[in-house]
């Protein structure tokens, strides 16, 4: 049994931590938060150069990692730095490429064309298999129609992988140039950008059809794992900042951390966070199993994270008091990211429901 990261992975984590600290201080992040289209190509190239993108994909596909624990190590580090770079879209799009269009992965790993995914639809909540967008065969290729919801970093992307239903009712994925999609971009509460997409008779060539729905499920699975790991990094930072505050903030003549009531609440948070970390380890270990086993462990993790991250965020704000309510402090930005992770790729209820369904099957 060995729960350490190992030398190579630890080295990557250290390098990435330093890079993000230098490149993406909170000041820079705040200045960029919510601005359109928000994408810092220089930082992106830096991430590619130090191997953060390549670490997400296996060697046979052109990467130099790809183990689920590589993914969690990278994303926990991103979470700890509150990095808002489009790494989740890259991971999910790259996972589709690795399975369906391996020749495209090299460019993505090198930090070239940025690709995002648009699997969710406005009516469908968190269910990626509820697809109404259509793909119709034409003489020149395919014609795509439909709407996609809350597509992360879509404005900054060069291409978008879109899910659509073919005539036989099956879901397929299509690679669509971002420029051919009507986008309405907006800022999100966690300082990122997303967009509502409308595809109105978008014509794409035959080779734009990448694959069926299998790679989409794989991408959503690894995306959920990545979000869980990112949340761990966010929560660790929330815990550290709150502990620091409890030790230094004096009220009624003593540090507020002397209050046993607050000590016990922090102790409970610590226990919950360790439980959450274990759930993510369980999920990462199950990534190679059959889809049902994998998804059950992922739902267990995303449920655990959904509850624990929100609670950690709320407690961090509460224990900071008024100052925790302001944009002045890092803690509020980390708290919002922790809360918003529950709204991406399924919240605690969605995953508890899926866990129950998969357990009954």
């Amino acid at each position: 049994m060995d729960f350490t990261l190992g030398e190579d992975r630890q080295a990557l984590v250290d390098t990435l931590t330093r890079f993000l600290r230098d490149r993406r201080g909170l000041e820079a992040r705040r200045a960029a938060a919510g601005a359109a289209p928000w994408h810092d190509r220089e930082t992106w190239a830096g991430l590619a150069e130090l191997g953060a993108i390549g670490a997400l994909f296996p060697e046979e596909a052109g990467g130099f990692g790809g183990d689920p624990f590589d993914v969690t190590a990278v994303f926990e580090t991103l979470g700890a730095a509150l990095a808002a770079e489009p790494m989740l879209p890259a991971l999910m799009a790259g996972t589709v490429f690795a399975l369906a269009a391996p020749d495209r992965l090299e460019g993505l790993i090198a930090g070239g064309r940025l690709t995002t995914v648009a699997f969710h639809e406005p009516h469908a909540r968190y269910d990626v298999s509820d697809v109404r967008a259509t793909a119709v065969r034409t003489a020149e290729g395919w014609r795509l129609d439909g709407a996609k919801a809350v597509a992360l970093h879509a404005e900054a992307a060069d291409d978008v992988i879109v899910s659509a239903r073919e005539a036989d009712g099956d879901i397929a994925l299509f690679l669509v140039p971002a420029a051919s999609i009507d986008m309405r971009g907006y800022a999100t509460h966690d300082g990122r950008r997303a967009a509502e997409l409308t595809l109105s008779g978008v014509a794409v060539p035959p080779q734009a059809r990448l694959c069926g729905s299998g790679p989409m499920q794989a991408a959503v699975a690894v995306g959920a794992l990545a979000l869980c790991a990112e949340a761990l990094g966010v929560m660790e930072r929330l815990k550290a900042d709150t502990l620091d505050y409890l030790r230094t903030r004096k009220q009624f003549g003593a540090p507020i951390g002397r209050n046993q009531a607050l000590q016990h609440r922090m102790a409970e948070l610590l226990v919950e966070m360790e439980q959450a970390r274990s759930s993510v380890i369980n999920a990462a270990a199950a990534m190679g199993a059959d889809a049902a086993t994998r998804d059950r462990a992922l739902s267990a993790a995303k449920f655990t994270i959904g509850e624990a991250a929100t609670r950690t965020a709320e407690e961090a704000v509460q224990m900071h008091g008024g100052i925790g309510m302001t944009q002045e402090l890092d803690v509020s930005h980390y708290a919002k990211r922790a809360m918003m992770i529950d709204h991406q790729l399924g919240d605690a209820d969605f995953h508890l429901g899926r866990y129950i369904a998969l357990s009954a099957a």
Partner: protein, 397 residues
Amino acid sequence: MDLAYTQEEEAFRTEVRAFLDAELPARLSDKVRDGRRLSKAETEEWHAILARRGWLAPHWPVEYGGAGWSVVQRFIFEMETARACAPMVIPFGLSMLAPVLIKYGSEAQKAHWLPRMLRGEDWWCQGYSEPGAGSDLASVRTTALRDGDHYVVNGQKTWTSYGQHANMIFCLVRTDAGGKPQEGISFLLVDMTSPGVEVRPIITLDGDHEVNEIFLTDVRVPVENLVGEEGRGWTYAKYLLTYERTSMAGVGASRAALGRLRVIARTERSGGRPLAEDPLFAARLARAEIALANLETTTMRVVAAAARGAAPGAESSMLKIKGTELRQEISALTRRAVGPYAQPFPPEAPEGTNAAPVGPDHAGPVTAQYLNLRKLTIYGGSNEIQKNIVAKTLLGL
């Protein structure tokens, strides 16, 4: 045991409802229902409507323009205005300062300031909290030194709600540095248009501008703006805070928010059926409904005791704890209900860059509101402080 209102109380409720039906503009209640922020002018418009009916300051003694209502009538009014999604009446002048002036102010102060409040001529804000003080209000560091017939005020106040709208601020200031922290505090009314007053916005979690920092640099305040006696400010401040905490259960607001949540849960769909029928969500909703029904009766029990003459003491702490937790839970459920559309930033926030709402109309402000309401368990004496009061006063621990 009788949970029903008397015939007179029912008649009063009918009267309040009729007034709200006739006088509350839909464009204001729509905004409140959707959780959107009202402008200063819109708040003043509602104040003026209430003032015309004589209901802007119903809790004041009749001779100053109060309505002479019983405790139960006041509770009914609060419930009905919340139910109708009426705008919040800004409490700083009407509910916090006014009772202090009525009890401790000079005749000249009462004659000058109270009618101006009813006419909406001043917008008051509260200068209690200071940086680093938190719930420890007695650690006042802002100083006021006597210079002839003026005080010269220097210091900083913070968490000042709607300070950007205000022209007047009531402040706790230190007029004597010796003795215990509670001694040497005085209660001063400061004209914010005076030289040396600077208001700086604090942007909160939700990206909105509601609270401010107030910097006071050599601000000259005429001595007639001292309330009561010099050095007795802590007594007045504590008296004021009992008023701040009485309506903190917010049962009316919770009921309105829960009603809106039910509508959203019937509209949103999850797994091919309304979200309200999703067993996990339905269980969460049911827990909140049950807690609210319980809290309504707990509140009425405190109201009934108050109607018999018992002064609400630590009971108001209990109501504050449960009431704020419940409002936060309902806002968290509402955020949960809108799913992925909880993420977009609402278009109206000053730090926002979004031109128009994203997703279903009901989704727009819910996350901002959830974030904003995190304040409920922090302000007005944090819930941790309230629990200390309950432990000490109700449990004798």
